[in-house]
């Protein structure tokens, strides 16, 4: 395998196997490749049989696909993780402070740290959240922070997912699968547990219950339904937390609260972990055509009688234009320098930046400010001349719609192939749980891997796969 690539391989350097991978490497070298190949097939059959799939959008009778799973774990040492976790926690704390500020006094705009136009022109800014504090003061109960690595100590945040981040079910299922496939590995190598996540999630949601909740808070997961691409995750999380999975039409307003229809009548709900987007949450407040939401839920919310996790309007903190100000935002609210680095970001809304970007398109990654899932972006170094020219026109037509970043030399981790190990680019999405006064991050997260050789796009909708992510105990 190529050990002298310009990319940082997290397992093998020219000098040998990196420390966190030492024990695994020893174990791997003793394995029979044919047996591993068979294990890999078994894992796929298992995922298929148990319905661990995601639906593909925009197709009649949507096809259900597997997210390919690679059996080589991505391994982080305890000290690497500790630094990452501190950085994520700091960032998540800043995001919550930012959201409270933006929807109340807007000190950060008054101070001129973040330009007002970024909020004023932002579709994710929900006026309905102004002059209001959610129960417990928590805006983002769950955050998934996308992190990439370029060197031994070089970690960058690529994106803050503060709306309804998904993927945590794959983090849990991947570990479960590894435990099933290679139990002996886990007795040889001490890996920190991720299995507490559902329990922590429930505790965190319960801790944010509204003040008028009586007894143990009643939590539900709100899903758009079985045809949603992440439905599997919604049912998985409800199941793992031991709470009900509901759809909008199961809920109604009763006695000034939100109530769910049970076989014995209606029962009050205290906390809704919703996986329905803001626009569809309340037809009385937002998209009136929505059949997925709960009419009037915003009225109950503003009365302080229901917790919605994540709070509506959190998207104002995670688009790519706001992202470019994140170091300033972290410093403004925490008084500390950001622990995790931001990728250098050119805002095409600024004429100088636009000129630079147009000049250097073939070396940059250009993204839509509000885009996600790897759609609508240009990866300069991988694009053809025609693609670059087409994108140039789009960029000129709506510069404020784009930001550009240098192409990062994403680190690689080997995947298992028929020909043995082969390096592929990866990212990492740890999941932070926020409750009043506490932030909890399960050690690890979801490692996404670009399965095609040389590809930098890890999104599952674009041919990415996943790996189990290990944080070593020591």
């Amino acid at each position: 395998m190529a050990e002298n690539t310009p990319f940082f391989d997290e397992m093998r350097r020219a000098s040998g196997v990196r420390m966190p991978y030492e024990d695994y490497s020893t174990w791997f070298d003793k394995q029979d490749v044919a047996r591993l190949a068979q294990k890999s097939e078994e894992a796929e059959r298992f995922f298929r049989r148990t319905g661990i799939t995601f639906n593909v959008y925009g197709q009649e009778d949507a096809e259900e696909r597997l997210i390919p799973f690679d059996l080589v774990p991505r391994i982080l040492s305890n000290s690497e993780w500790t630094k990452l976790a501190r950085g994520v926690e700091q960032r998540v704390r800043a995001i919550n402070a930012f959201l409270h500020d933006i929807y109340n006094r807007q000190e950060i705009l008054r101070a001129g740290v973040v330009p007002r136009s970024l909020i004023a022109s932002n579709d994710a800014f929900l006026p309905q959240m102004m002059d209001f504090t959610p129960p417990g003061g928590v805006y983002t109960h769950i955050v998934g922070t996308d992190i990439v690595r370029t060197g031994e100590n070089e970690f960058y945040v690529l994106e803050d997912n503060a709306r309804t981040p998904s993927g945590v079910s794959y983090m849990l299922e991947n570990r479960e699968t590894m435990l099933q496939m290679f139990p002996e590995l886990f007795s040889q190598i001490k890996v920190q547990r991720v299995s507490d996540y559902p329990k922590n999630l429930r505790a965190s949601l319960e801790a944010s219950a509204p003040p008028n909740c009586e007894g143990r808070p009643f939590v539900v997961v709100l899903t758009p339904g079985i045809h949603n691409s992440a439905y599997y995750e919604h049912s998985f999380l409800a199941d793992q937390m031991g709470v009900e999975l509901v759809e909008g039409h199961d809920l109604r307003i009763l006695d000034g609260r939100i109530a769910v229809r049970t076989t014995r009548g209606y029962r009050t709900v205290d906390v809704i972990y919703r996986r329905v987007d803001d626009a569809f949450l309340d037809p009385l407040s937002f998209n009136p055509q929505s059949m997925l939401g709960v009419p009037g839920i915003m009225d109950i919310y503003r009365s302080g009688s229901i917790t919605i996790a994540n709070a509506p309007g959190t998207g104002v903190s995670d688009d790519k234009a706001i992202y470019s100000y994140m170091p300033e935002i972290v410093e403004f609210y925490t008084g500390e320098k950001a622990i995790l680095k931001n990728v250098e970001t050119h805002r095409c809304s600024e004429p100088d930046s636009l000129a630079y970007v147009l000049e250097n398109l073939s070396e940059l990654v250009v993204k839509e400010v509000h885009g996600s899932g790897g759609y609508g972006m240009l990866v300069g170094p991988a694009a053809s001349k025609e693609e670059i020219e087409t994108f140039r026109q789009k960029l000129k037509a709506r510069p404020a719609n784009y930001i550009a970043q240098p192409t990062l030399s994403l680190s690689t981790v080997p995947i298992f192939t028929e020909k043995g190990l082969a390096p592929r680019h990866v990212d990492l999405r740890p999941f932070a749980l926020v409750s009043p006064g506490e932030i909890n991050i399960v050690p690890g997260g979801l490692t996404r891997v670009a399965l095609t050789e040389g590809s930098l796009v890890v999104n599952s909708s674009q041919g990415g796969g996943t790996k189990d992510t290990w944080v070593l105990e020591s």
């Binding site: 109340n104 102004m130 006695d255 000034g256 037809p283 109950i300």
Partner: protein, 265 residues
Amino acid sequence: MLISVSHQTTYTYEAPVSYALQRIRLQPCNSALQTVRNWSIDVEGGTLETRYADHHGNQVGLICAEKGAQSLKISVGGEVETNDLSGILGKVYGRAPLWYFQQPTALTEAGPLLSDLADTVSGYANELEQFHALSTAILDKVPWVLNETHSETTAEEAVGQASGVCQDHANIFVAAARRLGKPARYVSGYLFMEGRINQDASHAWAEVHIGDLGWVGFDVSNGISPDERYVRLAIGRDAHDAAPVSGLRMGEGDESLIVSLQVQQ
């Protein structure tokens, strides 16, 4: 002036309703312009589920119709003491910042017609004069005509068809004022009219934020700034935000709406 209001909104459903919600902004608030002496909200055929202050500071109620109800009657009323301050509410601010009131909404997006209209008054040095001139210009261009517009008519559309009611006038005014760079907002409320106790609908006007004065009201339909005959109910960026009643219903059949409104001294 002590104004007495009695306002009934009655929905009659063709088929028994399975689930219906009405969001009401029918509770006046105290300000320099008015003091609420007493006010009540009664609901027949439904329940007032919750009350809260919305993001514009309006007192909002949410009503849920009883299952199987064939009508829902919302009765509000009371007495409000008003002052004539020439429509000047003053420098009174909620959490919503001034820039927020400079943002257009779907109903108040300025197209070419509205921009032309706003441009006709762009030359004034004195802001009060400018907005009185705007008010006059709007009424000239869009005379008051009943039933040619509806609750979804945009400001631009109303200018285009050159007719409208107080709601359209207020939408056009806020759209034009924003076009001229000023924070502006929509106001819903009641108007006492000598000799017309029984009225068909509540009223609407606009407020614009002028440098030294703060918020100042303009009633385009009547060509004046509000005086002691006006009772403010709710504000917002457009007619939707400040709508006294807005709702949603599940079930078959049509509904009909009857409004009964008495405003007297």
